[in-house]
């Protein structure tokens, strides 16, 4: 394998909007290149996590190497690098793209271009990838391939007239795609004789081999025994194994050389040592400069995760530990809440990342979780010159010590059909959006550009967007930076006691409205007790909204069923059942779902 002809390698990825058929096309490519028989094919080979399959999205980048015998009689090695398809993972996407030399753009023949298509294709073009389009789902009755071709040329500005027309689902036009990969995507460059320079674009943890590092060799070569150094983290290790990616398995080989995509293991214990985007070099013969584009991953969204059953705290800790082995972007540290007990403050790349982690904890680790309102990282400038990065509203310094605060702002692009422009603009205004402009993509569709505070879009913006556009709007965003903002901490008091887990930071202008709606929602969620329970929203000790849960006055079990004690007990147990899912704050039992239901306050649903 060591004498692979660089000109016979193609490193590429597929970019697409969710549901436009990326994974299906990947499956077909793998199938047609004959690496696997049809029987071995799982439906979607690349998305091997159960969760990914259910959500129809790819969470972790996966990669596969296949061999294609082309019409010119030569055998080509295809390294198909899968990229996550969500804005939360933009950085991971960018590193995976950097490992490629070209990209296939999949566009749905009926839907045309979406906001995410644009975001991903621009990202690919930014990385100097050669992008060629394919038009998928041409067998749909609603397919309009010519219209889509024009749209691609007009909006993205890449040649599309000879784009393969395919149906990945039904295997139509796949040969054409394979040939196009050879002709339209360039072979890798780089010299085996230069010092080693390899890009880490992903890693997974294996309990036997340690961290398995996914890398693209840009220059030089690496083999068993090479002493390597990660240039950003500084970690060094001796390579134990190198290899390439079969479908769903690791296949060892002797050496990886410039232009190749593969993996290496080096008994590395912690994925943090192999940060995505870092450059691997030969410790004895290092390259001069690391590859560009490395960024330290920052958590953008934080929330508290608590076990519903306090006794499960150690289980939650173990589960987070295990998840972090494979996900360096997951951050967590222990915290305690008066209302929720022992738990963790966790940091995520975005809300989807949060939801995925939450679901994996619940599904794979069988944990029942209580989640507090997700928040962003605020910068608190104190009068003494200190700057605090605030991830937990409870830690907000006393207002007298605060000079001013800043919040993260994103630039958002929203693709929407013209009939819904009005309602989407309204939504953006409500969320304190700053209008930047609007481009008509075609007569009936426009791309709205807004600057929005991140904290306004992390809870339910996507839901609101979908509901106000009857599902037609699509959305993408990029972090722009921090801006000064008038922020206050909204506290919720239940029966006069502040419930720390319900506090959150909100813009001064929205405080009254959010407080009122929180109180209303909590009033519905908190069951009646034997005493009256005031629910108050307060800012800086001043109550701005109030609701009351009336006291229960009568609750008597009536008939004694001829000695059927079991039945009576069942009735009492049923009554008690709910209480197990409650949290005690003072004398008040708060249902766990109350902590989460208050996150979704958008009325217009």
């Amino acid at each position: 394998m060591s004498s692979i002809d660089q000109s016979k390698i193609r490193n590429f990825c597929i970019v697409a909007h969710i549901d436009h058929g990326k994974s299906t096309l990947a499956d077909r490519i793998i199938e047609k290149t004959g690496l696997l028989t049809s029987r071995e094919m799982q439906d979607q080979i690349l998305d091997n996590m159960e969760l990914e399959r259910e959500r129809g999205i790819t969470i972790k980048a996966q990669t596969v190497r296949t061999v294609y015998k082309a019409q010119d009689g030569n055998e080509y090695i295809f390294n198909l690098i899968d990229t996550p398809g969500h804005v939360d993972f933009n950085y991971e996407v960018s590193r995976a793209l950097a490992a490629c030399d070209g990209a296939i753009l999949v566009v749905d023949a009926a839907q045309g271009i979406e906001a995410q298509t644009l975001a991903n294709v621009y990202l690919a073009l930014d990385h100097d990838l050669d992008v060629f389009p394919v038009i998928n789902k041409i067998d749909l009755p609603s397919a309009r391939p010519d219209w889509v071709k024009n749209e691609i040329e007009d909006v993205i500005g890449i040649e599309a007239q000879d784009a393969p027309l395919i149906s990945a689902k039904n295997g139509i036009g796949i040969e054409e795609v394979l040939e196009a990969i050879i002709t339209k995507i360039p072979a890798p460059r780089g010299s085996v004789d230069n010092p080693l320079q390899a890009l880490i674009f992903d890693s997974v943890y294996d309990s036997y081999k340690g961290v398995i590092v996914f890398c693209r060799i840009m220059e030089g070569k690496v083999s068993k025994g090479t002493k390597i150094r990660m240039m950003a983290t500084g970690a060094t290790a001796d390579v134990v194994e190198v290899g390439y990616f079969g479908a769903g398995q690791f296949i060892p080989c002797d050496e990886l050389s410039a232009g190749m995509v593969g993996y290496l293991t080096a008994s590395i214990k912690n994925v943090k040592d192999t940060a995505v985007g870092d450059t691997i070099t030969d410790a004895q013969n290092p390259c001069e400069e690391p590859l560009p584009g490395y960024k330290k991953v920052l958590s953008m969204v934080y929330c508290g995760l608590y076990p519903a059953d306090g006794a499960k705290y150690p289980d939650l800790r173990d589960a987070l530990e295990k998840l972090q082995l494979n996900d360096a972007s997951l951050f967590y540290e222990p915290e305690t809440s008066v209302a929720l007990g022992f738990g963790f403050r966790c940091g995520f790349l975005g809300l989807l990342h949060l939801e995925i982690i939450q679901e994996r904890l619940e599904r794979e680790y069988n944990l029942d979780l209580v989640t507090t309102a997700p928040g962003v990282v605020y910068k608190v400038y104190k009068t003494n010159g200190e700057v605090v990065e605030l991830t937990n509203p409870s830690n907000l310094p006393d207002p007298s010590e605060i000079d001013y605060m800043e919040e993260p702002i994103v630039t958002a692009e929203i693709m929407v059909t013209t009939e819904f422009i009005g309602s989407i603009m309204e939504l953006c205004q409500e969320r304190r959006g700053r209008y930047l402009g609007m481009d008509y993509v075609e007569e009936t569709r426009a791309l709205l550009k807004y600057e929005l505070p991140l904290n306004e879009i992390i809870y339910d913006f996507f839901d609101a967007l979908k509901s106000r556009s009857r599902g037609y709007a699509s959305f993408d965003y990029d972090i722009k930076g921090y801006e000064q903002s008038e922020l206050v901490k909204l506290d919720i008091l239940i029966n006069k006691e502040e419930v720390d887990a319900l506090s959150f930071i909100v813009h001064k202008q929205s405080a009254y409205d959010r407080g009122r709606r929180m109180c209303e929602k909590l009033k519905d969620e908190i069951p009646r007790h034997l005493f009256e329970i005031p629910i108050q929203a307060a800012v800086g000790g001043k109550v701005i909204a109030r609701e009351t849960v009336k006291a229960m006055r009568k609750d008597v079990l009536a008939k004694c069923y001829g000695g059927d004690i079991t039945r009576k007990k069942k009735l009492l147990e049923k009554q008690k059942e709910g209480k197990k899912r409650m949290r005690q704050v003072g004398n008040v039992e708060i249902p766990q779902k109350a902590f989460m239901s208050v996150l979704k306050l958008d009325d217009s649903k």
Binding site: L530, F531, M552, R553, K554, D555, V556, L557, A558, K559, C560, Y561, G562, G563, D564, I565, T566, K568, K569, L571, L572, E573, Q575, K576, K579, N587
Partner: protein, 397 residues
Amino acid sequence: MHSIGVYIHIPFCVQKCVYCDFLSGPATRQRQQEYMQALLREIVWESKYYTQYVIKTIFIGGGTPSILEAEEIAEILNCLRAHYQMDAKAEITLEMNPGTVDRNKLLKLKNSGINRLSIGLQSADNAELQMLGRIHTYEDFLWAYHQAREVGFININIDLMSALPGQHMDSWIRTLNKAVALQPEHISAYSLIIEDGTPLYENRDAWDPVPDEEEDRQMYQQTKQILAEYGYYRYEISNYAKVGYECKHNCIYWQRGVWHTTDFVGFGLGASSTVGNWRWKNTESIKRYLLVFQKHNAKLYDSRLTDNSSVGQSVKEEVVRLLDVEQMEEFMFLGLRMMEGVSKQEFMASFAESMDKRYGAALQKWIQLGMMVQSGDIVKLTEQGIDVSNTILSSFV
């Protein structure tokens, strides 16, 4: 010798009331006779397990047991007398629907040994009775009540039901006043619970609304006040009696009672039993019940409780051995239904663990909130606590 109470279930009635979710329904005379035969066989069959017990109370409930012939009731009692030891002063109650008796039948019942009648009146308002699907009028009840007195029943309970659809305080007070005017020895006053699966539940939108929580609560309070004026004291959440006329049978369910026993055995379809730390319930399938006992098929029906392999062959279902903790729970949530409360000493004597150790936090919370009160060794619900007893009792399970 141990004391025990016996419950006999008669799953028949003339017609089902709209609120009723008990195991009962109309049946042909033939079916009733078949059931009688099976029931007697069960009583005989089971007797071998109770040689060390003496029956202190018998409660024949339903359904409407008074739908049976007086001779059949007598047969049940004679069967019990023949095969069990029975206290000569045992309390023997028959549930009775006013629409199912005449003077002659009452006389025969009296002579058979029934010494306590529990008459289902529910309401003294004929419109309300009709709405509930009762087969009798207030006047029918009045007549039956007087006949019962005349033939010599000196211990009578009247069942009443408040919080009916469309009912208001004035109507409930009229019902109460009419009931106390008759001076029965015992009054049970429940508020209507609309049970899942009953016609009342299924067509709930078609009925007038039931009183709201506050009015319901006031009805309960009025009940206590009015009944107190006429010499009835509340001894259990929903039960009132003149001193000395508490229902001894029900007291077995609720507390360790006068004989310090919680043992009761139920015969008949769907009847529950608790003996020692065993609990079970007879099958609710009449087919199965009849199959097992009709032919007196001893092979089909033979199970000692500990022998799980044969449980499936018998009518006994849901056979469980009560854990200590379950017995503690029951001690609390059943005992607290009694106005005299529960005794910490008795708890300790029964379970070798202190009530405070096990339930201290709950007790303290309820005492603080004024829902319970402690005096000496006794803890009990306060008036306020009674109003919301479900919430309180559920904290002990």
